[in-house]
């Protein structure tokens, strides 16, 4: 059975960071996709979910972009990612995502705020009352899309894959107009902050759309 989440905004920044850092985050069965030799891709995505089985909530997903799993005869994914840390604004959303999708979570509620000023949108994340990250991106041309992504998960019970279709209006560009500020906070402990290039090489903004998860696929058991 498919699971749907409606969102008002989903904004992502994609940043170069050292492959050594990516490999420290990834489980051994996943390979980082490199932008250049030695430079992998860290992404931060902030969601403003308006509709779900657990009500509206905000979510931030910290990921490493990895090789997708390609199978002959099946739809080719646009890309794949390994979310190494997810945080939500409500406990219900967190419990739901851990139970259903085996996603690794920050175990406290966080603040996820969006502020839009014309073509620019900023997502601000706070945890324990302290700033964690601010992601700013801008828009380009808007087009309706339906894109397949793969999300790989791993916990103490096994390794999993979720096929996710993102539908909605999309703006994507590489104008290098965005910026991320990652604060020195335990939330960001997996990254060497000075090694993450603060300007995204790609900015992706989706709005007024639906994120649809296919049933989880178990790849390995623990």
């Amino acid at each position: 059975m498919k699971t749907r989440y409606g969102y008002a905004n989903a904004i992502s920044g994609f940043f170069e960071f050292p492959t050594e850092n990516a490999r420290r985050i990834l489980p051994p069965h996943l390979e980082p996709a490199e932008l250049h030799h030695g430079s992998s891709i860290f992404s931060m995505t902030a969601f403003d979910f308006t509709e779900s089985t657990v009500g509206p909530y905000g979510e931030v997903v910290m990921s490493v972009i990895v090789s997708p799993l390609v199978k002959p005869g099946e739809r080719l994914p646009k890309s794949a990612f390994y979310p190494y840390l997810v945080a939500t604004t409500t406990k219900a959303a967190r419990d739901h995502a851990i139970e259903r999708w085996h996603l690794p979570h920050w175990m406290e509620d966080v603040g996820v705020g969006f502020s839009q000023d014309g073509p620019r949108i900023v997502a601000s994340v706070t945890a324990d009352g302290a700033p964690v990250a601010e992601l700013a991106i801008s828009d380009h041309s808007w087009n309706p899309v339906s894109h397949l992504y793969q999300s790989f998960m791993k916990d103490d019970r096994g390794a999993y894959l979720a096929n996710i279709v993102m539908e909605g209006e999309q703006s994507e560009h590489e104008e290098e107009t965005g910026r991320i500020v990652l604060h020195d906070h335990p939330f960001n402990r997996d990254l060497i902050l000075s090694d993450v290039y603060e300007i995204p090489f790609r900015e992706l903004w989706m709005r007024k759309g639906v994120q649809t998860f296919d049933p989880l696929i178990q790849l390995q058991t623990a």
Binding site: G38, S67, P68, L69, P72, R75, L76, A80, H173
Partner: protein, 426 residues
């Protein structure tokens, strides 16, 4: 279209995917990407990808006969796509030298340059290049690609640091990979970012830049980069693929243009751009060249340049030395085209050289624009993501000394009217 399944996606596979989607793929079989790529490519070809690799039936002069891969028809086109910046490859004396070398040596070198594949014409060409570049010695490589790969991996090792401009040519990146060194990219042409990266490096450091960058036609900020490198004890390699024989009072390249010939440690160039031939070279001290001769594996384990090519290149170098007016004509053509593009409101970005990107900045339109331009008589190549950033698609122009102003004026007219019709310019 089963594998890509465009119906499920509700979109054209051509629009949804690009080359970058077919590079990575986990799974058990290395052939898993073939079918989805084939399905996408079959749709991409008639939508514009047919414009790549169209066979030429003539020499790459200013007019070429090109077989349209979509219609099969041969078109007579004004050529703005070939390198051949000085129009040398088809000069009678160059062709004659190659013919005579074919009579004398036959087709190929029949051996590695370090074993039996070095002919006297190779020795003569290396000496001529060293003399032209005012260096003690030079060493030849079978291609420009192998020059970067072979040179970088001959002098750098695991644990060393190689700092590359983010827009570096693939051969430079592959050389760094083969060297197994730590590879660090700095922002394009940005000495401040280079300095930030150098501050984090210890041990051997090599900074690699290009004289002219091939997608944007902009010139390396060499004075500032040299200063930064000196401050941090880094060696500098300049790849002058698109600038040797063109820039500087004697045509030695961008390093000479800035008066920094002696401040750059390693000088690399190719014969395929300005001379329209084939091959690459590195110039420097005799000690350096002896070392590269011993450890440049891409050369060591390749057959030497074909002797007719080497002979033609030797004739080409002599023409460059004896006819500085060719460079003057090229720069006059560049100035003419820059002025006319500016008058027409055509954006060529930061180009400061004979490589001019006509910026379309619209990935969805670049192929239809390129198609219309070819149908109107111009031979140009579209360049799109992932070769350049998303929405930075362009048509790449190579200006030659062989072009007449009348030809360039025709090109401006066709490009201007097509961009206007497509809504790219007002």
């Amino acid at each position: 279209m089963k594998a890509v399944n465009k119906k499920e996606a509700g979109q054209s596979a051509f629009a949804e995917y690009d080359y970058s989607n077919f590079y990575y793929g986990a799974g058990d079989d290395p052939l898993n990407l073939l079918t989805p790529f084939r399905d996408w490519y079959q749709e991409a070809l008639p939508n514009g990808y047919y414009l790549y690799s169209e066979p030429l039936a003539t020499a790459p002069t200013t007019r070429v006969r090109v077989q349209n891969r979509k219609t099969g028809q041969v078109q007579d086109l004004l050529n703005l796509a070939s390198y051949n910046y000085l129009g040398i490859s088809y000069r009678p004396e160059v062709k004659q030298a190659a013919i005579e070398a074919t009579e004398r040596y036959g087709l190929g070198a029949s051996g590695s340059p370090i074993l039996s594949g070095t002919m006297d014409v190779h020795v003569e060409l290396a000496k001529a290049v060293a003399s032209f570049k005012a260096k003690e010695a030079a060493i030849l490589f079978p291609t420009g690609y192998s020059a970067n790969v072979g040179f970088i991996s001959s002098i750098m090792r695991a644990g060393d640091n190689i700092l590359l401009d983010q827009y570096s040519h693939a051969s430079i990146v592959d050389g760094a990979i083969l060297a197994k060194s730590r590879t660090i990219f700095f922002r394009h042409n940005n000495p401040m970012d280079l300095e930030r990266k150098l501050l984090k490096c210890s041990g051997k450091k090599l900074v690699v830049v290009e004289g002219v960058y091939s997608m944007d036609g902009d010139v390396c900020q060499l004075p500032d980069i040299v200063e930064v490198c000196k401050r941090h004890g880094a060696r500098i390699l300049i790849d002058e693929a698109h600038s040797t024989f063109l820039f500087g009072p004697n045509g030695r390249g961008v390093a000479e243009h800035f008066g920094l010939d002696k401040d750059v440690d390693f000088h690399l160039g190719t014969f395929s751009k300005s001379l329209g031939g084939q091959g690459g070279f590195v110039c420097g001290s005799k000690d350096l060249i002896d070392y590269v001769n011993a450890f440049g594996r891409s050369r060591f384990f390749s057959c030497n340049l074909a002797p007719p090519i080497a002979a033609g290149l030797l004739a080409g170098v002599k023409i460059v030395e004896s006819e500085p007016e060719l460079r003057a004509k090229l720069w006059s053509n560049v100035a003419f085209l820059r002025r006319r593009f500016a008058e027409e409101g055509i954006d060529i970005g930061k180009s400061a050289s004979q490589v001019m990107p006509v910026l379309i900045n619209n990935d969805a339109k670049v192929f239809s624009v390129a198609e219309r331009i070819q149908d109107r008589g111009l031979y140009l190549q579209p360049v799109t993501y992932p070769a350049v950033p998303k929405h930075k698609s362009r048509l790449r122009i190579s200006v030659s000394a062989a072009h007449s102003e009348e030809q360039l004026e025709v090109a401006v007219g066709v490009i201007g009217s097509t961009l206007r019709e497509a809504g790219i310019i007002p």
